[in-house]
């Protein structure tokens, strides 16, 4: 287990390092950041001054080393627009994002796991087909279309829910549903397939033959084994979908999280914020993936022994 954890950690570190490097060079590739921000209305002396202030005139590799050094001393520079440290700007956005993400994940699990089980047990009746049809079509509904239609109906026509912002419990409802929509559709399908694989196994028949109740068999023997597969899917797919979803959903509902920050930084070309924000989210996704990976290995001893050296 320890060596498996170490391998996961190493892979995590390498991935993050690659991303940091790509982000750095991609930003510099686009030409001089100063020109984007101040535009044409600037004398060439002032332009030189700004360039030397941001140390953009030094060799690329020196800049790269300085960028790497910022990870050890925690100085990531100032926002072009807000003139505050980017780390402050990004970090204060984490909590609202995390809240929304947790709400959406909770809703997803509460809805999709029971639905997936139902669809697997009654897979040959209309119930199973209906659940799968809804999940299938739900997967094709873009989250922003869902969000906009909900706003139209529940905020403008029925006047039940606040349009944008956060603060009260009511503010959570639409963003949570809009974000969970695709996740629910995806996870319901995975849960069903994982359950189907398990339902036909010998140990299920054994459990029934022992005289256990059907509910006990399905939950204790079925779901527990299917859970391993479901867990890996959550790690592989859900973290990515959720990160992408929060960008869109937060921007639509003016939710003060990282996603909303990234979109406005991209539109305003606030590179320092964008750079730090992208790295923060990437790191979060990598860490979540690694945690799921470890949980997966912990739950399934076969994995940590067989995976060695292979792929």
């Amino acid at each position: 287990m320890l060596s498996y954890a170490l391998r996961t950690l190493t892979r995590m570190a390498i991935t993050f390092f690659v991303i940091v490097t790509v982000v750095f060079f991609a930003t510099r590739l686009s030409g001089n950041a100063v020109d984007f921000v101040v535009g044409d209305g600037i004398t060439s002396e002032d332009r030189e001054l700004l360039i030397s202030y941001y140390e953009l005139d030094r060799p690329l590799f020196t800049q790269y080393l300085a960028f790497l050094k910022s990870f050890t001393d925690g100085q990531f520079g100032l926002s072009f627009i807000e003139r505050r440290p980017v780390s402050d700007i990004v970090l204060e956005r984490i909590w609202p994002s995390a809240q929304l993400l947790l709400a959406a994940m909770t809703l997803t699990l509460l809805v999709s796991i029971p639905l997936g089980i139902v669809a697997a047990i009654w897979r040959d009746s209309w119930i199973g087909s209906a659940v799968m049809m809804v999940a299938f079509l739900g997967y094709a509904v873009p989250n922003f279309v869902l969000a906009v239609l909900m706003m139209l109906i529940f905020s403008y026509w029925l006047n039940w829910l606040p349009v944008v912002g956060n603060g009260t419990a009511l503010h959570f409802i639409m963003p949570t549903i809009a974000m969970a929509g695709v996740l629910i559709a995806a996870l319901t399908r995975f849960t069903r397939n994982a359950m189907l694989d398990v339902l036909g196994q010998d140990f299920m028949r054994t459990a029934r033959a022992k005289g256990l109740s059907e509910g006990h068999v399905i939950i204790k023997h079925g779901l527990r084994n299917a859970g391993i597969t479901i867990l890996s899917v959550i790690g592989l797919q859900v973290a990515g979908i959720a990160a992408a979803g929060s960008v869109v959903i937060e921007a639509i509902f003016s939710w003060p999280g990282i996603g909303d920050l990234l979109v406005s930084a991209a539109v305003r070309r606030d590179y320092p914020v964008l750079q730090f924000g992208v790295l923060t989210v990437a790191l979060a996704v990598i860490v979540i993936n690694a945690l799921v990976d470890l949980a997966y290995a912990w739950a399934d001893p076969r994995l940590r022994h067989t995976v060695k050296g292979g792929n």
Partner: protein, 296 residues
Amino acid sequence: MTHSIAVPATSLPATAYRLWRGADPIRKVAILIGVMLVVLAIFAPLIAPFDPNAQSLISRLRPPLGFERAKEGYLLGTDELGRDVLSRSLHGLQLTLMLAGLGATLGLLFGGTLGLLAGVVGGRTEATVMAAVDTQIAVPFTLVALFLLAILGSSIEVIVLVLGLAGWEQYARIVRGEVRRLMNMPFIEAARAAGAGPLRIARHHLLPNIVSPLVVQFTLSLSNIVLLESTLSFLGLGVQPPTATLGAMVGIGRDYMPSAPWIVVAPAMMILFITFAVQILGDWLRDGADVKLRAR
């Protein structure tokens, strides 16, 4: 003369007819919607009653025909600048489908080539390609897209490039996996023994055998790319105004939703139709290509 192995001997129309006969009602509807959307997109300039960018300030925010204050000739109403919503939706559909097709093709070429290279050459090349694939999987692509568009600007070329990068890692993974599986097959060894070089093996023996998983992946990624393009346009980072794309129409129309919901509804429905049709067709293709599923 080429000697390919895996190409079936039936003609394209015959295959299409056979597929249509075997399709269940939902799939038939999906096919009809898909064909209709493509036809509408291709002939958009002929069908659209107005210039999509022609403004008319005296007929701003008119509702669709049949509602009060509707204006003659504007079937789906007008937007905040008095432009015809139907014409803009049709042109938007054309641009959205074109960008998605270009993007998906680019991704197929880029990812497929890298996967082929990794599978055929192996060694350090393979390790590098697969490391890049793993890194790409670890980073949500929406982030990459935001980042690239912010740096390089939202010109059409950059957007096609960004859409082309989306999903390349899936192609690379699939092709590399299939190639590695096929490389151990006797017929590859036979080809090699007959003196075929790596290029010839790749073209005549490997590619024909990996076409079907690639077709499936292409269809699935098409709907993802439509979604990505719409999302980016919606956020204001895609094709810039006044050019109409479906996502941008929803994004801008959002501000007028309380008083003029029709601006949003038409393009939003079109996006839904595209993704539904593509998803259903992609799923069908996958069922057909996956022997394991067919046996179930």
